[in-house]
Symmetry: C2
Subunit: 598 residues, 2 copies
Amino acid sequence: MPVYKAPTRDTKFVVNELIGLDRFTNLPGFANATRDLTDAVIDEGGRFVSEVVAPLNQIGDREGCTRHADGSVTTPTGFKHAYRQYVEGGWATLSAPEAFGGQGLPHAIGFVMEEYLASANQAFAMYPGLANGAISAILSKGSAEQQATYLPKMVTGEWLGTMNLTEPHCGTDLGLLRTRAEPQADGSYAVTGTKIFISAGDHDLSDNIIHLVLAKTPGAPESSKGISLFIVPKFLVNADGSLGARNAVSVGSIENKMGIHGNATCVMNYDAATGFLVGEECKGLAAMFIMMNAARLGVGMQGLAQAEAAYQNAVIYAQERRQGRAPTGPAEPQHKADPLFVHPDVRRMLMDAKTFTEGMRALSLWGGFQVDLSHHAATEEERIAADDVISLMTPVIKGYGTDMGYKIATDMQQIWGGHGYIAENGMEQFVRDARIAMIYEGANGVQAMDLCGRKLAQHGGRAIQRLFALVDDEVAAAGTELAAVAGPLSKANGELKAATMWFMHNAMTDPNALGAGAYAYMTLTGVVSLGLMWLKMARVAAAALDAGSDEAAFYHAKLTCARHWATRFAPQAGALRREVEAGADTVMALPIEAFATA
Amino acid sequence: MPVYKAPTRDTKFVVNELIGLDRFTNLPGFANATRDLTDAVIDEGGRFVSEVVAPLNQIGDREGCTRHADGSVTTPTGFKHAYRQYVEGGWATLSAPEAFGGQGLPHAIGFVMEEYLASANQAFAMYPGLANGAISAILSKGSAEQQATYLPKMVTGEWLGTMNLTEPHCGTDLGLLRTRAEPQADGSYAVTGTKIFISAGDHDLSDNIIHLVLAKTPGAPESSKGISLFIVPKFLVNADGSLGARNAVSVGSIENKMGIHGNATCVMNYDAATGFLVGEECKGLAAMFIMMNAARLGVGMQGLAQAEAAYQNAVIYAQERRQGRAPTGPAEPQHKADPLFVHPDVRRMLMDAKTFTEGMRALSLWGGFQVDLSHHAATEEERIAADDVISLMTPVIKGYGTDMGYKIATDMQQIWGGHGYIAENGMEQFVRDARIAMIYEGANGVQAMDLCGRKLAQHGGRAIQRLFALVDDEVAAAGTELAAVAGPLSKANGELKAATMWFMHNAMTDPNALGAGAYAYMTLTGVVSLGLMWLKMARVAAAALDAGSDEAAFYHAKLTCARHWATRFAPQAGALRREVEAGADTVMALPIEAFATA
């Protein structure tokens, strides 16, 4: 059975040394984040996840969820018990606001737990993960009464939540929604329609499930401007907070999927279910994006999380499995063969994985920190700057993070050879589970368009200019001993600048050029962002070594990974820029008939 | 349910126009390959595969194979009936020698059928596919008596065959084999041991199964030089050719795998089973490589095959599914949304897929043609040249072909969005099935080492020099209208030359440098080889257009794909060269402890 151990030392490196979170306890929203507390959260959270949640990963995959004859849904063996422990341990409340019973810790700390949970058991992690999106929407757009009614129980995790967007005929294009919401005399709405692909749509983990549902009110425009958001609880909530009548929402079926079997992906039928408008009619899209952006960062971390889990098991196998000899001669002549670890191509994959996972962990937690700064930084200017950066980075963390997560999980499976293809060894589950993260919460091509068609242009390109400057500043701050990293990063940043310039000059005259180059541009931004993290980490590591740290091996490894980024990741930047600059020419040249098989 | 239609027009383009197979009918081994006949084989083979074999792909995935209480194994519903039609249609015999009842057609034609079968149903295709490897070994190393006993029934497909290499503790490192073969008084051997991952290890498709088994004779050296190859039939064959006693070989279990569920991947137990030595004792490795090389080309085509099948279904979906609007404004304003096909990022993936599958089809069939030339070309010099090329290209076709096959299958699944993750739509099966091809018959890292550690150095680098020359000659022959392809190809070839030179200068002094760069080098060779095919195809297409072909759209599409290779694939060459040149430095720097989770 695969194992998982939360990488707590590396997390603390990012939180304490790279971000230096406890330097910000003077700010609101950071006040509770003393180093003692965050270290304890990291250690205890890691322990809980590794011991309680991870052992259920393979069981969940094998059993899946069950829809019973009465329409009720049960989760795999052990999920309910583990979830109760999760709630009782207060793990759901970490970064939720204190006003509703949360611990008021920074998002950066909430993200730590999201990574650990997703590594241990992505299907399990999605139950609270989806609820986070629902909480964000109610926090941001719900009325005071709605907040008081739903948030306290949602924050503790006693109630869970879902996001209902997709319908059979529409996913990305929400303007096509058919679900209808008819206003009722009492101010509520009767919601009718079918939603599909609803993660955690029903289950036995919580007493109630608060569905957030996109629907159209009568006469609303036939576009995404006609969408409204509704709260549709599984059980209506009485005035005293107790559970009332069962609402007219039911599970039509559970999808049979490639992976994340432990999560109930439901077809949801709303039959004049009672719903409550969140915010104003036809303003649902903005609320949806609030849910979505929270969810996208979480999904980006799922890429990291699956890569990390797969990596840990590949490291163990590379050490235990003996096959062949080192190219330099027998490394362990007392054995008939050397461990896989001696083979440079195995080591290449492990180094790629280490460089990606540690770099992505830094990028994700640093991203979470930008979310915190965007709310709580001391000045308006700093808040705007942080918001610019995280708005820009959200599609990159989601898109690049999940593409690479899948790639690395596949590499780690490869290290296991034929044994990696066998279900009981668990490596193939990491790949199957990682695959969905490239698709849901906006397929990665949609992320690329969000980045290039929307985020690049906002405020005259202010956000991307900030990224350029962050990189340039970091390069300028690097001493000569970091030149082997700073040089390639500066060059990669130059490629990104050139690609950006190319878009500026060509996307207006050829609207297809943006779409044709967007994916390569997103990947290029990912490469540069990872490099930014590695140069930052290298600087911290070099300083620790200069200060005579007694963890020299740890910091030396950081410097090695930074150089690995520079020699193995950075070279892609030039190729990606050329892909952007190739434009739409060959991409859009052929008619549909040319793709038909003759 | 996913569909599959054999791409017969494109196959004929490669066979008739690119290779021009019927120009060689003066040579032995090509004599039967008149254009009328090969066109008929392509059409009829394609029809048979699409109508009979493809509809069983999803059934096979869902049902898998069953080991019954008596140890017998049955294949999924319909496989037995389809296989009988396959045998009766003579499809097994295409490129088998006429002396044993084959049709004596070139390997290039046999490969056509291998591609079609693997696209339609990879799990099904593996039953005859593995038999091909066994046939090759007996043809090349078996005694006249062995050939007479086994080949006629194997060639028709009445009997199938397997390759038994792997054991629980050894895959790549065959020196560790523990299966023993004790000589018996009658000249046979008693074979005892456990083999794992035996594809098509047992089933109900054929009356007999001829297992080819690697084992060690008493006193044999403890390395791959101590390996011998044995024929171990499921049923012993009487002198009159009838089936005799059941041999002491049994199926311990069937593996539960990520994909190819329709193929019975067996644990095989040999309990003093009667085996017959093939060739000489301790010369099994050479025979194994004969099986392996045949199988590796077939596996490389599985990458192409899964990409092609996934691509066809992505094209259909891109046309039928409506979501959003074209960047240039509504393409079909009469509908509420445009087809996915209008989106440049969708089109990018389709163009990548078309460029890969058509390029890889050309490379694979041209590779099969080199196999034919290596046996039958008019002069010794030509035969050696062809053998050099196909020896070099075998790991590239296997490694690059399957890596890209998996990537493209994943891209095509991506076009389906969330629906691609749902089992019943079939897109995720293509990905799961494609995944194994990167692992079996030598994991792709092993292919990279075969290329760089073995094939590059043979005969003083003669083979890679031939590839350089093939590319340079093709570039020189390209007119100015093909400069947009020839230029990037020449540049990519330059990168490959530089990477080769780097190996020459550095691999001797640092044995790890070869291993650290081998994978990037293999990919780089793949990129260049695909480009060589595209420039060749572009030249043929340009000539056809100049000649006023009435299939102008077909040939224009070829020119567009060639330019797509040049703008979207070729740029990777520089990055890959830089990866090679990065050497083993960061790759081998860290000790195992640095990879452990703290």
